[in-house]
């Protein structure tokens, strides 16, 4: 373990992004993700990159749009209210098929809300947030190591599919320190012949735009984009299964909720209760198939969330009536305890 260092989740994201070749960071400070910006402010000038604290979140995401158009690996980060502000720009990126990384270290909402951990931006992240028909690939790490690993993966996926990718973390993931290895799986960014890098009078102009006023053409673009999304749903789903082989009750939880749930599953197993955990790592594409298959055997699912129950809708769609689906949750910056989850395992959560 000699090569491991202790880092905050936020710092791990920032360092991993730099290692992945991200040379441009645009952001605006907000708790609990400000360490990302602080880290970038220190490191970017040293590697010849750009750290720019924009005048607002809206400006920052549009700077990301610009740098992505020029073919750069680029990112921004914020927390819940700030991501709402970025949503217009994220939709524009999706509509212009631009790669880029957006990090949301969630805090309690709605509105300005609080600064404690939350997962209540699940709908916003996975169902849109901005306007129009689009998806982001949404990755939910559950450790500091995964914050680093999936930041690298996010840049790869963004470039591979020419679309924005979101890391959906929460205040705990951002603030906690764990040992992390920075020996990451770095691949060079692919060529980007579509980027607006100057023609040298040798090729046609590349145009990056989300405006398309002829409905027949705009419809075609939407259909093409959804073919890409269908391919991603088939090939890029990531999840972890924990003690599910013989489980009669299956918890579905991501991020910090999965960490808490693992404690509860371990405690329940000690009492002989057959319970397991499915942890979606990609929230979009959602691991529908694995949950659907598990529902052939399991009698009951419990969605453990730091929200009023958002992911539970996707769990219900996957279970499709084959088993009961219950909710075990806290909201507004509170985190369920392992005891609360254990209680839900034993005596049922909210239906």
């Amino acid at each position: 373990m000699a090569d491991k260092v202790l880092m905050k989740g936020n710092e791990a994201i920032a360092e991993a992004a730099i290692l992945a070749g991200c040379k441009h960071y645009f952001g605006y400070p907000i708790t609990p993700q400000t360490e990302i910006a602080a880290y970038m402010a220190k490191r970017m000038p040293k590697i010849g990159g750009t750290f720019l604290q924009a005048e607002s979140e809206i400006a920052a995401i549009n700077m990301v749009y610009g740098a992505a158009s020029a073919g750069m690996r680029v990112m921004t980060s914020s927390s819940s209210p700030g991501v709402s502000l970025k949503s217009e720009g994220i939709s524009y990126m999706a509509g212009s098929d631009l790669p880029g990384l957006i990090v949301n270290v969630q805090r309690g909402g709605p509105g300005l809300g609080g600064i404690q951990p939350s997962q209540s931006d699940y709908f916003q992240a996975t169902k849109g947030g901005g306007h129009g028909d689009y998806h982001l690939i949404v990755i939910a790490p559950d450790s500091v190591q995964e914050m680093a690993d999936y930041t690298v993966k996010a840049f790869d996926l963004a470039d591979k599919y020419r679309m924005p990718v979101m890391i959906l973390a929460d205040g705990t993931m951002g603030q906690m320190m764990e040992p992390v290895s920075l020996d990451l799986d770095i691949k060079p960014a692919p060529e980007k012949p579509w980027a607006t890098t100057g023609t040298n009078c040798e090729r046609k102009h590349n145009i990056i735009n989300s405006l398309s006023l002829v409905p027949e053409e705009l419809e075609k673009l939407n259909f093409e984009r959804y073919e890409k999304y269908a391919h991603i749903q088939e090939t890029e789903v990531m999840y972890e299964e924990y003690m599910t082989e013989d489980a009669e009750t299956i918890i579905v939880a991501f991020g910090i909720a999965a960490r808490v749930s693992k404690n509860a599953v371990a405690a329940a197993r000690k009492e002989g209760i057959k319970v397991g955990l499915i942890r979606p790592i990609t929230l979009w594409p959602f691991p529908t198939e694995v949950i659907s298959k598990a529902a052939d055997k399991a009698k009951r699912f419990i969605s453990v969330e730091l929200s009023m129950g958002q992911m539970i809708e996707d769990v219900k769609l996957a279970v499709n009536g084959k088993a009961k689906v219950e909710l075990c949750n806290r909201a507004g910056g509170m985190i369920p305890s392992p005891e609360q989850v254990l209680e839900a395992i034993k005596n049922g959560g909210a239906e």
């Binding site: 202790l6 600064i115 404690q116 906690m176 320190m177 040992p179 960490r259 693992k262 404690n263």
Partner: protein
Amino acid sequence: MTKQILIAGFGGQGILFAGKFLAYKGLTEDKQVSWLPSYGPEMRGGTASCSVIISDEPVGSPIVSKPDVLIAMNIPSLDRYEDSVVPGGVIIADSALIDRHVKRTDVTAVEIPATTLASENNMPTLANMIITGKLLEILDGFNEESIRAALGKVISAKHADMLEVNLKAIEIGSKL
């Protein structure tokens, strides 16, 4: 084995630093560790706390709600967390700042005047490390090699000259 440690006190007492030191010490001993600070408005002058977990197995939830060990460096921290300590656990309180005794009878209560000792030994900012020294003595003794290694990681290069005095503070605590 898993040890769940909660350290709590005022902002400025080095609560987070002591926690980081313990986490790094675990890391240098090839343990699984997590460190989670409170990051609320308490950072701006109120109470501060951090959860540290040191384990032989992967750490599940990083949140310590039922500590095996509580370090309380002020009255509000003892008031707030005393009842959460597991039966048979340990409470270490800075008796220089806390003018009451630990009420629990089912835990090992250790009351040491860390802040007074820090002043007397000309290291007024290191009550946190004196009390951490006591914790180490209770948990696994004074192992200078791993303490040095952890201090080397947690103290930035800019403040490298502070290593010896931190080590001294830990030693003072461990001999109490």
